[in-house]
């Protein structure tokens, strides 16, 4: 990925890729960081409404999704080890598990949002605007934006994982050139990291 088109040097530099990925993760952290600032301010301004609104969310689904992400984080972390042990099959299997868990997470999310929609709660919906207090409107606004953006990151993460798996399959990513897989892993952990904060902030603080 990092080669110059017309200079056929071997430019592979695992550490450079790793720093690059970390730096990118920093920007992602601050992207969500902005949202966390918004969340904290509004939580501070409307404590009661936020409590009330959080009760509308289903803690069980949230908890299940948390565990799912944690497990998937472990599987992808393990896959970096298996790759080093030159176990291509195991690596691919672990990635497959990770992908499946990611998809299950999204399906859960889909149903969770679906339930909200069927109750007439979505950003700007009439039910929300008419029957809820301002704090609750903000809560749900942030809920949809933050979990939505998180879901978008899951999708991006899945795409990266699939590309990595394909390259492992073809052998261009291997124990000597593992950067892509490690970066896919880092990205996936980032997604996990963000969820670790989203979960208590939205589901638990009732």
């Amino acid at each position: 990925m990092e080669q110059n088109a017309h200079i056929e040097h071997d430019h592979y530099d695992a550490e450079a890729s790793k720093i690059g990925m970390w730096l990118f993760i920093f920007t992602e952290l601050l992207l969500f960081g902005g949202l966390f600032v918004v969340y904290s301010v509004y939580r501070y301004v409307n404590p009661d409404a936020f409590h009330l609104a959080a009760e509308e969310l289903n803690t069980t689904i949230g908890a299940v999704n948390t565990i799912l992400l944690l497990v998937s984080s472990m599987t992808i972390a393990m896959s970096t080890s298996t790759l080093q042990y030159k176990k291509k099959g195991a690596t691919l299997a672990l990635l497959a598990i990770t992908t499946i868990i990611g998809i299950v997470f999204l399906v859960n999310k889909y149903f969770e949002w679906g339930v909200k929609f069927s109750h007439g709660i979505w950003p700007g919906s009439e039910h929300l605007l008419n029957d809820f207090s301002q704090g609750e409107i903000l809560f749900f606004g942030l809920y949809f934006v933050m979990t939505g953006l998180h879901a978008l990151h899951i999708i991006i993460g899945l795409v990266i994982i699939l590309v990595a798996a394909y390259r492992i399959h073809k052998g261009t990513v291997n124990e000597n050139r593992a950067a892509l897989l490690e970066n896919a892993g880092l990205y996936w952990h980032l997604v996990d990291l963000i969820w670790i904060f989203l979960f208590p902030l939205f589901y638990l603080l009732t």
Partner: protein, 94 residues
């Protein structure tokens, strides 16, 4: 461009960390069930903090990385916290 020697993390470590994370998840659910008033938020964040520390050090390999990467990560989190605190200088004293 020398080959960086990789530290291969044994599976066992990952499994232990995962267990710890799951336990912490349930612990944070439990603690928020209890009525602690303002401390609920603090409690939940504390657990989330510990969890993210585990993810960062083990899953994201910071433990085995060069120190300057760790420093960068710490710096970024610090900046975020500082920005949050400063923003609250406005809201706390309005």
């Amino acid at each position: 461009m020398s080959e960086e020697k990789h530290h291969i993390v044994p599976y066992r470590v990952y499994v232990i960390v995962l267990m710890a994370l799951i336990v912490l998840t349930f612990a944070s659910i439990a603690i928020t069930e209890i009525e602690l008033g303002a401390y609920t938020v603090a409690g939940a964040l504390l657990f989330a903090g510990i969890k993210s520390y585990l993810v960062l050090t083990y899953f994201m390999h910071l433990k085995y990385d060069k120190k300057y990467i760790v420093a960068m990560v710490a710096f970024v989190f610090a900046i975020f916290v500082v920005v949050l605190v400063i923003t609250f200088l406005d809201y706390l004293y309005r």
